[in-house]
Amino acid sequence: MLELKNISFQAEDGGKEIEILRNVNLTLEDQFVAVTGPNGSGKSTLAKIVAGILTPTEGQILLDGVDITEKSITERAKLGIGFAFQQPVRFKGITVKDMLSIAAGKETAVSEVCSMLSEVGLCARDYVNREINASLSGGELKRIEIAMLMARKSKVSIFDEPEAGIDLWSFQNLIRVFEKMHEEIRGTILIISHQERILNIADQIVLLADGRIKKVGSREEIMPGLLGAGQPCKTLTDKL
């Protein structure tokens, strides 16, 4: 269980203090949680605060009742927090197999790499010795990023917009990945997404707006309001 207590985050922009998150209180059980909201609402910031990449200006983070607010990124990773970046990082000379081994915390055999990559629709034969460098496309990197988080088997797995850039690979597969992770690990899966199809499978949806939690509830409670709120204006609907 992951608890966020009164989390606020301020950043400086051109000498001005900007409030990105304000008094966020959230309790995440071991289930499928989707965080959504408009661009700039603070979703990615929230994810980075949980992973330890950003330090909240105020507030506390508890993992299974233990305060981890002061813990480093590495310590949190070891305690069971995993994070798939929105924009995966490239590494010259480090291969897909190397990265999956680091993620799994042990040397992985080619057969294991094969099973991890097949989950995200990639054939190990083509990728196992490829470097995670500019020769891989954004979509390929994104899938490898997801495979790395699967390999970690974290208690809390955070995905920042996992659907971006993987349109060629079916959506259904992505959803199956999340379901499988949930079945195997029984932990918290926290997904930041704008995608209706991802929101549709969440047990709980958190709606952020302007750095505050606007609503938390089941998909039945949240979805109808979300779709209505996003109605395009007449100029656009005329063209659709």
Binding site: A51, I53, S72, I73, T74, A77, K78, I81, G82, F83, F85, P88, V89, F91, K92, G93, I94, D98, M99, I102, A103, G105, E131, M148, R152
Partner: protein, 305 residues
């Protein structure tokens, strides 16, 4: 050969026993072993220190090992090795120099290697430099490589210096004739107060000649590196050089490219990137459970692989 020399040999040539094929082992300025084959002859020079390696035309799949080890503190030597590679050969040459200095005087090895590669021959040339020993004496290595590629010949050179050399100035010059191609891959890591200078000059003389110079380096602590590359396109040719460096601590790295096109169809490109390890790379590896230090090592190891 003693244990220290054997260790050096393992480091620079990956040799744990007597190599197969032709070889010449030089230890503390003396010949410590030699073998020739029906196709590869090794002859001691009479006018100065060094050897001539003559490879018969059409020799394929053979290798030549010519490692040098120095374990006597204060030894300074210059060695001239000339390789004559006949037409249509396809061979591998493994050179390398290991210095162990546990004394207070500088040990210095200057190897001057010249390659005369005849028409359509292919050469893979591997060179490793390694230093060890806890003495105050500097370990200095100044390799000079001169390459002449005849029509259609190709040479691929891999040069690696990862550890223990205090000062190095490596000068490589090449002339590339019609249809010939030259590839040089250099990997360097410096630390402490080490200084490494690399200086390439390549003259592209023939139609369709090509050169590709790739340097990857890591400079740590207070070390200094200078990468200079000069490519002169005197005919229709492709020239590319690339310097990619990671800088750490208080180190300093300079990349100085010089491209000269003397022909309208000379295609010359230089790329250089120098920078510290990207913060997001460290963060990514830390989210996978590595400490900052471990993440740094992993990135450097991959970069120089």
């Amino acid at each position: 050969m003693d244990v220290i020399q054997q260790e050096l040999l393992a480091q620079v040539a990956g040799l744990h026993e007597v190599p197969e094929g032709a070889y010449n082992i030089r230890a503390n300025g003396e010949m410590a072993g030699r073998n020739t084959t029906a196709n590869i002859d090794i002859i001691t020079k009479t006018d100065r220190s060094g050897i001539d390696i003559k490879i018969k035309p059409g020799t394929r799949g053979e290798s030549v090992h010519i490692p040098v080890v120095l374990s006597q503190s204060g030894l300074q030597e210059s060695v001239y090795n000339d390789f004559f590679v006949g037409e249509d050969c396809d061979i591998t040459i493994i050179a390398g120099c290991g210095i162990h200095n546990s004394g207070d005087q500088a040990s210095e090895h200057s190897g001057i290697h010249r390659f005369f590669v005849d028409k359509n021959a292919r050469v893979r040339y591997v060179e490793k430099h390694y230093g060890s020993g806890d003495g105050n004496g500097e370990r200095v290595m100044n390799p000079t490589t001169e390459i002449h590629l005849a029509q259609g010949a190709s040479l691929e050179m891999e040069t690696v210096q990862i550890k223990g050399i205090d000062s190095t100035r490596r000068v490589t010059t090449a002339s590339v004739e019609e249809g010939a191609s030259l590839t040089i891959k250099e990997k360097i890591m410096t630390h402490g107060k080490q200084v490494a200078e690399t200086d390439f000059t390549v003259d592209m003389e023939g139609e369709d000649s090509s050169v590709n110079l790739i340097s990857r380096s890591v400079a740590r602590e207070q070390s200094r590196q200078v990468f200079r590359s000069r490519i002169n396109g005197n005919a229709s040719c492709h020239g590319h050089s690339e310097c990619d460096a990671i800088i750490m601590d208080e180190a300093s790295v300079s990349a100085i490219p010089e491209l000269t096109a003397n022909d309208i169809d000379a295609n010359l490109i230089h790329e250089a990137a120098i920078g510290k390890i990207a913060g997001e790379q460290l963060i990514k590896l830390m989210t996978l459970g590595l400490t900052e230090k471990e993440a740094e090592e992993q990135i450097v190891k991959g970069f120089l692989k």
